[in-house]
């Protein structure tokens, strides 16, 4: 029945369009506008350009004010604020270029619409103008390239040696996280050692693996450099921590890195957000203001399959003392999985001894 209705509706639509088409044609013939070079439509189209401009830019200014409150909060990493600054600087420049060109682009059609009395100005070229508007963008681009280069160099420089090593491994469809124990060194991994229990393929032939531990959430100390050791075990993933302005692909067979310094603890961020009206709104699910449950999050930004949109992990940034306390309380993966390790032929006692 619905399909019949749809079909009838479709046919009716075509008939109506055909009639409109006929009417348009007949009216234009009756008015004699087919003979004229430019009819009333020309004037209508001409005036629509400035109108579209006013409405369009009005909407942009109006909505930009509203949208701001849903943007990400201030960057929570040292390099993040530099990136933000560069972003908004570039946005200001291109916003100006966008606006200025559009003033002209939408004004000229109105101003220079066809008039029989006038003829267009034969103006094929002006080399001076071309040079001017080649050089100006070139200078602006140079400034942007240089400032981008400085920040990029800074962000991608080698991590300080004292950085905390954290390993993040992407898999369909979640993240695994491993910390080095007190030795500060992550043990090796081998993808052939992966199975249902040893999801990260930790290689226990390497003594550094013995005190490594895995965690449900990512805990990070405030103010200390953190080096993320990123890998993937099946397909491409990408580590995206939007609040820290951080992104790096996770590639099977090619470990990648990103280092940064968190600058705000989760608690500090909640405190800061409690001042923002958008964050004071009550979350209908929890019945509490949104800022109370604010969490840093890790998301996947490289399409990886059906569960791509659900690869979430919570990041908890703490004061260094809290972090150290948490770190010391963690039990190593090896000691949690003694039976598994002995079934794999590792001598658990030996492992435990070498840990001490």
């Amino acid at each position: 029945m619905t399909s019949v209705l749809l079909l009838v509706g479709g046919i009716l639509l075509v008939v109506i369009l055909a009639l409109v088409y006929r009417i348009f044609t007949l009216v234009s013939i009756a008015k004699g506008s087919t003979k004229k070079r430019a009819s009333t439509s020309n004037k209508v189209n001409a005036i629509l350009f400035p109108i579209a401009f006013l409405l369009g830019f009005g909407a942009i200014f109006w909505y930009s004010g509203i949208a701001q409150k849903y943007f990400l909060p201030e960057a929570a990493s040292a390099h993040g604020s530099e990136i933000d600054y560069l972003f908004w600087l570039t946005m200001a420049i291109i916003g100006f270029a966008f606006f200025a060109t559009h003033v002209l682009l939408f004004w000229f059609p109105f101003k220079y619409q066809y008039k029989e009395s006038r003829s267009a100005y034969f103006y094929p070229h002006n080399d001076k103008l071309e040079i001017v508007w080649t050089i100006i963008p070139a200078i602006v681009m140079t400034i942007l390239v240089i400032s981008g280069y400085v920040v990029w160099n800074d962000v991608t420089s080698p991590a300080p040696s004292e950085a905390l090593n954290v390993e993040i491994m992407g898999k369909q469809f979640n993240w695994e996280v491993r910390y080095s124990g007190n030795d500060g060194e992550l043990g090796r991994h081998d993808y052939k050692k992966i199975d249902g229990t040893n999801a990260m393929g930790i290689d226990f032939r390497d003594p550094n693996s013995i005190d490594d531990f895995t965690a449900r959430d990512i805990h990070l100390p405030k103010g200390r450099p953190v080096l993320l050791n990123i890998r993937a075990r099946d397909v491409l993933h990408s580590v995206f921590m939007p609040h820290f302005r951080l992104k790096m692909d996770a590639v099977p067979g090619m470990p990648t890195k990103f280092w940064f310094t968190p600058t705000k603890t989760t608690a500090e961020m909640r405190e800061m957000l409690s001042q923002e009206p958008a964050w004071q709104e009550i979350n209908p699910e929890t019945g509490e203001p949104r800022y109370k449950n604010f969490n840093y999050e890790l998301a996947c930004t490289e399409v990886c399959g059906g569960g791509h949109f659900a690869m979430r992990k919570v990041i908890i940034v703490e004061e260094p003392e809290e972090f150290d306390k948490w770190h010391n309380e963690q039990e190593s993966w090896a000691s949690k999985n003694k039976d598994y390790l002995s079934s794999k032929g590792y001598n658990v006692l030996e492992l435990a001894l070498s840990e001490d």
């Binding site: 088409y21 220079y112 100005y121 070229h125 963008p137 390239v145 399959g305």
Partner: protein
């Protein structure tokens, strides 16, 4: 697809002028396996338009999911079958399949084949004064390889395991491993086979375009007198011929990895409960190869649209295009630079940071020639005498989209900022405006402008105006808000955002975008109607409806085989002599000698007129 074609040409070509050759044409050689560039162009156009509707429909489907994540989509079951679950929810992998196929279809089948295939084929011989393409046979093959590729891709949409679903970039290992997602099975195989034929098609087309432009220009038509359309098609073809083979290489290695156990892109993978034997490969290698085509592809899509726009803006502003040489120079610059910026798609792929800074530098240089083009378009409008045909509206719209989408490229091309914005909706907004919409507008402009030459009839202008304003406003309502969503960090290719606190805002805006998208897509039906209806019922077109100066308007209303019934016109001047001071009319066609226009000649042209006289005197003597 071809049946539609056949009907159309039956009626429109009924009163065709025929040259002496090709007397023994039958139905198949004339309409199906035609060697005539104009028929082939129409074949490309109509196939491209049909693809555009399929691609648009797919985007409508996934916009429903994004705009109304809680809605019950059971009503889509008749169309999508089991892709809609019993709970009325769309399958997550199907969502990705829709996104992937939307991208593939729009980029390759609509904006490469549908745009370049149509207008390069149609306009190159007509505007350079050639009887046909250098090789009509290769040209026919080019279309039929595209057709074959289309058929395979179309069938893949109906596979039980779904079409390719790893994104239009089909990054391995996701695309290489059927264990990773069901679309990486047969769907991916068919994608690769289809794209192989597509590459063959576009290479055959490209070689032909290049050869034709170089060899078959009519007497007097030097490169410095070529319309900017031809320059654009020529450079597009050069880019395509140099970059598509690299995509072929990338695809071939992927085929090997998928089917013959090689490890070009695969290394240390554990999936589906087993560790694969592949070691030593690199997924990054694929990305380099892919984007070596993928980035030039952006310009393959955009340059023809810019060329078409240059022509239409000059014609309808009744003014020469401003800075003809600068326009050519900037196109050459863009074409060259397009090959050395590909890695800006890979800033956060694990690429060496030093390379990142090199590619940032090269990428931002592209902004300079692009800016020059934008300024030149605007200056062409300045003090013009503008007639708003639908084609002109779409061309002005293109310039607007080219600027608004282009400027955000400056943000994304900056590797430091790209860390945050890579693969977010900011990118989606950027390329849909600058490459998707701008090129689509170029294609629409071209259709409206050259429809009279293609079918001998006029499209309805009023419907064209309605179509333009709905599309123009619609496109901005759809893509502009995506910048906000992108700044808020929303990743692209997400089925839903509710899992994340950070992305749980902007739900209203997403609904708004979806509604705008559906309205904009529906508005395209106005165009479809206008297009197909006008083929049969449109007003008969005058010989030169837009009072344009290029050669195609010197042909009969419906040019037959060989395009000109008599001798091919000779070219004396550049294509933009509009509103020349002193001239009788507000345009002087390219085939009018300077000796016939002493009233409007510039001093240097008076000199040329003398030479023309001597030349023609000589010819007369020889003839006698």
């Amino acid at each position: 697809m071809s049946t539609v074609d056949i009907d159309i040409h039956n009626t429109t070509d009924a009163h065709d002028h025929h040259d002496d050759h090709h007397h023994n044409e039958n139905f198949f050689t004339k309409y199906v396996f035609s060697l005539d560039h104009k028929t082939i162009a129409k074949q490309f156009l109509i196939t491209g338009l049909l693809w555009a509707f399929i691609g648009g429909l797919l985007s409508g489907i996934f916009r429903l999911q994004l705009g109304f994540p809680d809605a019950d989509l059971t009503w889509l079951k008749p169309l999508l079958g089991d892709w809609i679950g019993a709970d009325g929810k769309m399958d997550t992998e199907f969502y990705l399949a829709a996104v992937t196929m939307h991208g593939t279809i729009m980029v390759f089948f609509v904006l490469t084949a549908g745009l370049s295939g149509t207008f390069s084929n149609f306009l190159i011989p007509l505007q350079i004064g050639a009887r046909d393409m250098a090789s009509g046979f290769l040209n026919m093959l080019s279309y039929w390889f595209f057709f074959l590729s289309s058929v395979i891709m179309f069938i893949s949409l109906f596979l039980e395991t779904g079409p390719a679903s790893g994104g239009w970039v089909i990054y391995p290992p996701l695309s290489a491993l059927p264990q990773a997602m069901s679309g990486s099975g047969l769907g991916m195989t068919m994608w690769l086979v289809s794209m192989t034929f597509f590459i063959v098609s576009s290479l055959l087309g490209g070689i032909n375009y290049i050869t034709t432009v170089i060899n078959l220009r009519t007497e007097g038509l030097s490169f410095a007198k070529l319309p900017l359309t031809i320059w654009a098609f020529f450079l597009t073809a050069v880019i395509g011929v140099l970059s598509f083979p690299v995509l072929f290489a990338a695809a071939l290695l992927l085929v090997f990895d998928r089917s013959f156990g090689t490890s070009f892109y695969l290394s240390e993978i554990y999936i589906g409960g087993e560790a694969l034997p592949n070691v030593g490969g690199s997924p990054i290698l694929y990305q380099h190869l892919f984007w070596f085509l993928g980035h030039p592809e952006v310009y393959i899509v955009l340059l023809p649209a810019l060329g078409i726009t240059s022509e239409i803006i000059a014609t309808n502003a009744r003014k020469p295009i401003f800075g003809y040489r600068a326009m050519i120079g900037s196109m050459l610059g863009i074409a060259f630079l397009s090959f050395i910026v590909w890695a800006h798609h890979m800033f956060v792929s694990g690429l060496n940071p030093f390379l990142g800074s090199v590619f940032m530098f090269l990428t931002l240089i592209i902004a300079v020639p692009s800016a020059v083009k934008a300024f030149n378009y605007i200056t062409t409008l300045w003090r013009g005498n503008i007639i708003f045909t639908p084609a002109m509206l779409f061309s002005i719209g293109l310039v607007s989209l080219f600027i608004s989408g282009g400027v955000t490229g400056i943000v994304l091309g900056n590797s430091a900022i790209d860390i945050q914005l890579h693969d977010t909706y900011f990118v989606v907004a950027h390329f849909h405006l600058v490459m998707g919409s701008a090129s689509f507008f170029g294609m629409m402009a071209g259709v409206y402008h050259w429809f009279p030459k293609m079918f001998g009839r006029m499209m309805n202008e009023k419907l064209g105006y309605v179509h333009f304003w709905m599309t123009f406003i619609g496109v901005y309502l759809v893509f502009f808000p995506m910048h906000y969503i992108g700044i808020a960090g929303f990743p692209r290719r997400y089925y839903s955002f509710t899992n994340f606190d950070a992305f749980s805002t902007f739900t209203d805006l997403n609904t708004f975008i979806s509604i705008a998208a559906i309205i904009t897509l529906t508005a395209q039906l106005i165009f479809a109607f206008n297009f197909f209806f006008s083929i049969f019922k449109g007003k008969l077109a005058p010989l030169n409806p837009w009072k344009s100066s290029t050669l195609e308007w010197t042909t009969p209303r419906l040019p037959g085989h060989g395009n000109w019934t008599g001798a091919i016109p000779k070219v004396y001047r550049w294509p933009y002599d509009y509103s020349k001071p002193g001239a009788k009319d507000d345009f002087i066609a390219q085939n009018v000698p300077y000796s016939e226009t002493p009233e409007s000649n510039l001093p240097m042209e008076q000199e040329l007129a003398k030479f023309e006289k001597e030349d023609s005197d000589e010819v007369k003597k020889v003839n006698e």
